[in-house]
Symmetry: C2
Subunit: 198 residues, 2 copies
DNA sequence: CGACGGCTTGATAAGCGTCAACTGAGGTGG
DNA sequence: CCACCTCAGTTGACGCTTATCAAGCCGTCG
């Protein structure tokens, strides 16, 4: 019942408030998930990497928008069949519930970050988080490919593009990282971990 | 399998990282849910009112702390029996999943608030949100009883106690609200709704 | 080559945080 | 019964962090 779909960078996968007729798994690429305020302010809720799910909700409208950061391949299910299928498998429903609880816990981490952490801590936490996620996908080098823009990072961390840039520069001056084209090389992961620590 | 429990104001219901052996529904009172950073910074994740759930997760440690704002009565289930019970009822599991998805959506609203809104918008949104929740509990007057402290509100909104206080004063000067002992009376809900609007 | 978009850097300013003093309500005890 | 303490809240003065505005750099692409 699934089918593959490709999205070019910047193409929209889902739009806040529009009928949520698809459920996705990312196969390749990266998707940014966000909400917009009426005046254009944007909060990026997360970046979805291969293996991540999107639109996994029984509700019938998307509560967020999503578009492709890079060219992206997804595996898509019509929502109706997904719901019908899940309803027949108690075990699957349990997994979904666990998954949603875990997402909720991550959202709460992000609430702490947005409500109580400094710019430097936010950036450090972001880098460590990306490192851990990429690691789980088999990427072990200390050079993180950050394919999203500074604006995306800023909107994810509740900062401005300039503050993100200056914070990268500050970390680079401290020899904690090196800023490279399309990414960051971590020199002292310990220092970043200290920034990210609870 | 449930049993009633009472907690006096400030008593702890759950502690982050400790074995999550209970699942609760609030019957009376109010509970604050929060996370702490190592240096004591606190982010309040939410306030639980009668009818709300707590600790509804299949995971075996609490990912948050919770204590009573006012004297509180809860209905508590041992988590093991709760999990076992839910596993036997596919329909219940579906409801739980819907519930978790909804919570996630609310957490995302809060991420937008914390990442992108001004102090005045945060306070306005907070008041409108409390109004709506109290309304659903049958409280229809425009006077909101706010039993939590300014510090709780500040930690919920990612502000300081002083900023919350000044913002209340500013709204009071604009004749939008009146600050009363243990609460706020709303004079122009429209103005607050405008602040809260997406 | 020139235009454009993403990024960095600098100068300045605003918003919110920090520190400190003050008020008022409630509780305690002499 | 009232002096005193404590604690929550408010207000003021000040300053820091981060935002805003503006200019310039660099790589890419038509």
């Amino acid at each position: 019942m699934s089918r593959g779909m490709r999205f070019a960078a910047r193409e929209v996968l889902a739009s806040q408030g529009s009928p949520g007729d698809g459920v996705f798994t990312i196969t390749e690429g990266m998707v940014r998930i966000y909400r917009l305020l009426a005046d254009g302010r944007r909060q990026v809720l997360g970046f979805a990497l291969p293996g991540d799910f999107l639109g996994l909700s029984l509700f019938d409208v998307y509560s967020f928008s999503a578009d492709a950061v890079t060219d992206t391949v997804v595996c898509s299910f019509p929502r109706k069949s997904f719901v019908a299928y899940a309803d027949q498998r108690p075990h699957l429903m349990g997994r979904l519930y666990e998954f949603a609880s875990h997402e909720l816990s991550l959202a709460q981490d992000q609430m702490v970050l947005l409500g109580r952490r400094t710019a430097e801590e936010r950036v450090g936490t972001f880098l460590i988080m990306m490192r851990d996620r990429l690691r789980r996908l088999g990427h072990t080098s200390p050079t993180l490919p950050l394919s999203m823009t500074r604006q995306d990072i800023a909107d994810y961390l509740g900062l401005t593009i300039e503050t993100v840039s200056r914070t990268f520069t500050k970390l680079a001056n401290a020899k904690t990282i090196v800023v490279v084209p399309d990414g960051v090389r971590m020199l002292r992961e310990r220092d970043l971990e200290r920034l990210a620590a609870g």
